[in-house]
Homo-oligomer: 370 residues x 2
């Protein structure tokens, strides 16, 4: 018997830039000409059926005009298409068009597109570079930092995928103008969550500028896009593989995700998270980590953003309590919550531990009261 | 417009050990008890329908006896099962059994099993650790170093996958005894290839010990398993993402892969590679990089291993020449070959360039003459 050691230690640099601005398509083309992805001249533009007409067609045309080889790969819009089957169809279409390892993928769209296209890029030819051109506030708040890519399966959400960092991310604020108002409002929930858990000053900024934000004012939106990146970066950098600190991003999501499911996705993700945040500030107040003013300030800001702050009538409260147990933070059959501390901070229960067990009876009382 | 820099530079240590020996199942269990994969206590054993009865059942039982949670995930044996569909079926079965991120995959089998299971591990829960328990000479020679995992698609071989390093590899020589003789012989082709391209001493060892090797003599087989690891490690380490140096592993494969396909997989991979090596030493001789003695010594060693050294009658030579153009080394429509230099070396045409353009007429002449 003998042992052979395969020594594979190396420095990996996955650093990248997030460009935040208004109408960034020409910036993207200029970056490619300046060597953003080296000598690559073949681009697979992946998008959904809605974003295609709005933005992806334009990017495709600009690439062709520049003399690059480029093709559009379009799938039907919607979270339900974020599947292995869609991934397979895109792969087969790319193979049929002769794409090999010397290509780059450009994802144009919201979180579903960037999640799916980033996953395709991670396994195509054992990995090709990709670029995210994000066209929603939610993608800006959620998908631009962290490197998470995935698809859903019948039995699990986001459980098949990989960590894969893009070459560059573009957050084009101009695209937010074409979003339905309900989507803009829904996207605001993750932004408010970031302020609640990490930055009091940012919270005050949102409070002072919410009307401008909902009208997609250029400067105000650029500012919140930057702040969102900062908060996620601080949290993700310190905990890249999602254990302790990264759980703080789950604020509002314990109740939020459960409501989203019980509503059978009638509620948008951000709307459900908003209600979840309300439940969780009430919990924090009850546990003595927030005072009444702080609790009410959070609820008032959500209302100012026109987000829902009460559990809709049609939601079965008992089913909601049961659904809490499907949360990924559940450990040894016990519910666990991230608890906000004042405004702009969360409770660290032990070094590196940011979620704490909560009795079902305590959670139930809050839910029954909403 | 503003730019946010996501700084993600870090040291990654993917080092691992390859254990080479006779009957290593208890060593595997002991390693797990000693913390090879930390606190993980859930093991998904992935194998094929042939290896299941021979070895995987045993490993499964040993895991259960040790108090671990373990399940077998079995797919039908054969290269044709190395698909996205099989991957999906394994994932769904694992999800249904409640496997989440806190599990480890153990691949038990030959190259098809380790390729597929390593890919499953790479995307399950965005990556779980995996261990390879290799049961064929080919897996020992080919799949233990390099981190390549992949599946085939109708349009491409090995083009969907990722680079993923195992926690540990076990090369159990005892398992080679249960291989059909034809498989042992076929596996020897990659071993001879390694000797040809990198190590004259190893070539002489093979020449002196071929009979012992074909009878799966313990010491001799352990020695060649080690030497195979060394050669692949030297080549792979210097060129992890497969560009220049890694192409040398392609020796014999330009003609070999083409024959394998034209034979409609009647020839095993190693048999086809053997014929490919013969074609390519004849080419090297013609180009003046080998003398007649060296050329004949290579052919004689392949014969000693009972590998085929001539193109079978039923192969259409014209089709074979056309098929050469599907080789991945083809560039700008020109055939490119790795050329052996004497015995134990290859020609470096320019710094870092190990494949050279060859006129079709030259390749054709050699093929027509075999």
């Amino acid at each position: 018997m003998s042992t052979f050691n395969v020594e594979l230690k190396k420095v990996v640099d996955d650093s990248y830039d997030i460009e935040i601005g208004f109408e960034l398509m020409n910036t993207l083309i200029q970056d490619l000409k300046n060597g953003l992805v080296g000598k690559i001249r073949k681009f697979a533009v992946i998008t959904d059926s809605i974003v295609k007409d709005l933005y992806a067609d334009k990017i495709h045309s600009l690439l062709l005009a520049e003399g690059y080889q480029a093709d559009l790969f379009v799938f039907e819009a919607g979270e339900k298409q974020k599947t292995r089957k869609t991934k397979e169809e895109i792969e087969d279409a790319m193979l049929a068009k002769g794409y090999r390892r010397d290509c780059c993928i450009i994802a144009v769209g919201g979180g579903v597109v960037t999640d799916l296209a980033g996953f395709v890029a991670g396994t195509y030819g054992r990995g090709v570079p990709f670029i995210n051109y994000a066209t929603t506030l939610l993608a800006a708040a959620d998908a631009s930092v962290g490197g998470k890519t995935a698809v859903d399966t019948p039995l699990a959400t986001n459980l098949i995928g990989l960590f894969n960092q893009p070459q560059k991310v573009y957050l084009d604020i101009a695209t937010w103008k074409t979003l339905p108002k309900r989507q803009v409002i829904s996207g605001m929930a993750e932004t408010i969550k970031h302020a609640c858990l990490a930055n009091r000053e940012f919270f005050d900024y949102l409070d002072a500028n919410m009307d401008k934000l909902l009208e997609v004012d250029k400067e105000a939106c650029e500012h919140i896009a930057e702040e969102n990146c900062k908060v996620k970066y601080e949290v993700v950098m310190k905990d890249e593989r999602e254990s302790g600190l990264r759980e703080v991003l789950n604020l509002g999501h314990t109740v939020g995700r459960a409501i989203e499911t019980v509503s059978d996705y009638e509620l948008l993700h951000g709307e459900a998270v908003s209600i979840g945040i309300v439940a969780e500030v009430k919990l924090a107040y009850k546990l003595g980590y927030m005072n009444a003013n702080e609790r009410d300030a959070v609820i008032a800001l959500l209302q100012k953003a026109r987000l829902p702050v009460a559990i809709p009538e049609y939601i079965d409260r008992e089913e909601l309590v049961r659904k809490l147990y499907t949360d990924k933070k559940v450990r040894d059959g016990k519910l666990r919550f991230v608890i906000q501390k004042g405004i702009g901070d969360v409770v660290e229960f032990e070094p590196g531990v940011f979620a704490t067990p909560i009795e079902e009876s305590v959670a139930r009382e809050i839910i029954m009261d909403m």
